[in-house]
């Protein structure tokens, strides 16, 4: 431990701010500043305005769907060059690798370096574009100003038509956020933790109220950007791919019900495209303030499933979290199956007659499957084999539906139904 401390201090004392940075090559900076950026889960590059460079006047295109150019062994998609402008930061957020009290190596890109890395990576088809975030140095305005300048250079000087995602700095001047939205496809700002109280505890320099105001502001500006003026002219589009946010799960004691309540509120208030849930994972040089557990990946997965049910399957928050004894989702089975097991009176459904809203509630049926059922049953009635061919997960669905040649009989109400889906009990590790 002593070794680590003195090593860390020697980095911090090894000279002035600028001297310390000059020691790093571009490769070293890239290593430090991508390592520091990986805790942002978002890498989406979809859903922005269509752009092309077919006429030879620029570089890049966006065509609606995102593209993952690589996958890391953590299973995450790599779509964007996700880096920090700098990992120097004056804030002291307990969960963050870049907090002022951490001893990680610090580096800082120049504007030129970020622009050139983005363009050169893009030309080789490594990436869809740039996701730029930053630690906060000296002042929020200065940091945000430099990030906006990078986006401007890419768009105007390099005529770059790929995807740009900028992380906004909460306390920056609203004019800078306005400019950011003109160059970027997506803006985001992280709420960080599920409750205001947790933010105050673990990110004392951040203000939940300010974060909310920025999200409100982005929504208002985006909506103003779609209204035509009295002359019928459209204003320049503002952040066409909308805004998103991220919440760290498992760092504080918030239950899944609290987390989902927060995201429901955020979706409805600020029209977010996505709320990302990031399982709190051990970071290098962590603080003693937080437990270094294995990241709760299964919990993160269940939260995403519940999030989808809320947004695309017509579920209400109370339906998903209402019956949870401790407010936490069942880790062994997915939330739709959990709901169906608790609401067996609603089943079995007749696949040949049931309404769309009800079919969406069948475990094992996704939106695609339901659409296929609806188009096909217009012409003829469906059998069990048809459902299999349509991609339905019949292992789950069979207990909850009837169709040509299939009825679940007593299976729907059988006592052992849950046990068929839950994984067998596991021998706990001793350590």
């Amino acid at each position: 431990m002593n070794g680590r401390v003195s090593q860390g201090l020697s980095v911090a004392c090894a000279g002035t701010y600028d001297e310390r940075m000059a020691r790093f090559t571009l490769d070293e900076k890239l290593a430090i500043l991508s390592d520091a950026a990986k805790y942002d889960a978002s890498c989406a590059s979809s859903g922005t305005a269509k752009r092309s460079s077919r006429d030879g006047s620029g570089l890049g295109s966006t065509e609606g769907s995102g593209i993952c150019h690589a996958y890391a062994p953590d299973g995450r998609c790599i779509s964007l060059l996700k880096i920090l402008l700098t990992n120097f930061c004056i804030y002291d957020c307990a969960y963050c690798i870049n907090r002022v009290s951490s001893n990680v190596k610090r580096a800082r890109f120049t504007v030129d370096e970020v622009v050139s890395l983005t363009v050169e990576f893009y030309r080789r088809n490594y990436i869809e574009g740039l996701f730029l975030s930053s630690g906060i140095v000296r002042s929020p305005d200065e940091t945000m100003g430099e990030m906006v300048e990078i986006a401007r250079r890419l768009r105007q000087d390099e005529r770059f038509r790929g995807y740009i995602h900028l992380k906004t700095i909460p306390d920056a001047d609203p004019d800078l956020i306005e400019r950011a939205g003109l160059f970027a496809d997506r803006l985001s700002i992280n709420v960080e933790l599920p409750t205001d109280a947790s933010v105050r505890t673990y990110a004392p320099e951040k203000s939940p109220a300010t974060i909310r105001k920025v999200m409100a502001d982005v929504r208002l500006r985006k909506e103003a950007g779609t209204e035509r003026s009295h002359t019928g002219k459209r204003p320049p589009r503002f952040a066409p791919a909308g805004q998103s946010t991220q919440m760290i799960v498992g760092a504080d004691g918030a239950s899944d019900a609290t987390v989902l309540g927060q995201s429901t509120r955020l979706y409805s208030s600020y029209k977010l495209k996505r709320v990302y849930y990031s399982a709190f994972s051990p970071i290098p040089d962590a603080t003693a303030a937080l437990p270094l557990i294995r990241p709760p990946l299964e919990r993160e997965h269940r939260l995403y499933q519940a999030d989808w049910l809320l947004r695309f399957y017509g579920f209400d928050l109370a339906e998903i979290t209402g019956a949870l004894p401790d407010g936490n989702l069942d880790l062994q089975i997915d939330p739709k199956l959990a709901w169906a097991l608790q609401n067996r009176h609603a089943f079995p459904l007749d696949v040949n007659r049931a309404a769309r809203e009800l079919l969406l509630r069948v475990p094992g049926f996704g939106i695609k499957t339901v659409n296929r059922i609806l188009t096909t049953r217009r012409h003829r009635s469906l059998t069990y084999e048809d459902l299999t061919r349509m991609g339905a997960g019949m292992r789950k669905a069979r207990a909850f539906v009837t169709c040509g040649g299939w009825t679940p009989g007593a299976l729907t109400d059988s006592a052992g139904l849950r046990a068929r889906f839950a994984p067998p009990p596991e021998q706990l590790a001793l350590f």
Binding site: M1, R4, V5, G8, L9, A12, C13, L30, A31, K38, Y39, S52, S53, D55, G56, S57, G58, G60, C68, H69, A70, Y71, A72, P73, D74, G75, I90, Y91, D92, V100, S101, S102, N103, E120, F121, R123, R124, N125, Y126, R159, D196, E205, R212, A216, T264, R265, Y267, S268, S269, P282, I283, A286, T287, L292, L297, I373, T375, H379, T383, R389
Partner: protein, 479 residues
Amino acid sequence: MPGVTVPALGTASAWRDAARGLLGANVPPEDVLWAYDGGPGDLFAMEPAAFAGGSATVPRSFVALAETVCWHADPERFARLYALLWRLRATPALVGDRGDADLTRLRDMEKAVRRDMHKMKAFVRFREIGGAGGRRRFAAWFEPAHHIAEPMAGFFARRFGDMDWIIVTPDRTVEFTGGRIALLPGQSAPPPSEDATDALWTTYYRNIFNPARLKVKAMQAEMPKKYWKNLPEAAAIPEMIATAEARARAMQAAAPTLAPARARKITERLRMVEDEPAASDLEALAREAAGCERCPLHRDATQVVMGEGPREAPLMIVGEQPGDREDLAGRPFVGPAGQLFDRMAQEVGLDRDAAFVTNAVKHFKFAAKGKRRIHQRPDASEVQACRWWLEAERRLVRPRLILGMGATAALSLTGRGDGIMKRRGTFEAAGDGTPVLLTLHPSYLLRVPNAAAKAAAERDFRADLERAVAWLSDADGAA
């Protein structure tokens, strides 16, 4: 038996022409032998004219299906497509039948081609090979599972419009020079090339990886090993996987370190709050209210929305609570009800800018419903908690008349919120004796369902606004 050889170049349109002809000539599927000529520059092995003049009406989604499936590597694809086309003549609705085995098979092939195309968009890696005339030049080698180089040419042309490039695949080479696409024969081996930027990319790939979340299966599901040999970053994968667990464990096991010396100074300076002095007592009040937690509403709303208007306004207008727009903008009466109020106030000559406009409750109360926020009426305890701020505003502004709109405002101002329909148009008194003219809330006017009731409500509301204007001018005259 007619035999049709579909060429490797322009496969999809050649198949479509042939199929149209065969269908026109009423040739059943079992009588056609389809072949694919993988060589370059072939023509039909038969006279297309043999079946000229055929035209067939087919569902649009079949055309799109055939367009994609034609690039599949399966030698039976042409025959399968034609067989389905034949069946579609009698039953066009079949194309929407997701349970049909023939169609399912073709849809699966379509999906395989689309996936292959998507992976090509993702995994082609260009290397710079010099250039001329201001355009840089790049080359890539890619091994798709299907014959997709030709249909993919457009994508890369739209994306890399300002550079020259060549993508070589085993059965087709696409060359893009000066903005023109050329389709050439393929090559059996990759063109040798190196690019220093690959090393930077690999550095990025190594460092964006989080060793604490190892999920190798998830990676391989999306980036199967067959692609690895042409991805420069993939060389790093085995070592990344092998060391991940040890790295994660080391992070957990490491004891916390001492913060660097500068950290404390920075944090102390940052936490020393330097508040600028407030510009006015109303501003000071607003700052104080910003942190209000007197009731639970602060948890869900964006911000406190305090009143707005001249410090010495003779008229204070009190509504219920901020709505969706007010909550976002941080200003009262900017949403639909506020706009309606403005319009009607203008009609009766009430100058809104001369009035102090505020709400009985300062935080927006709502229920989140999907993508929308549904307004909820604040309950008595919330109104009571927020009276503190309304009273403070009233003490500072000291209006001569208060216009209370709706039951919530009535409750906060007079202590009673019931019977607003009977009480509207009458003057009551606030706790300190200031006269309060009660009226409907403008959002009520927006919600009244039937036209007659709406007209009546608007008439009443307008009359009350006029009453307020008259009262103020009388008071001016008296003064």
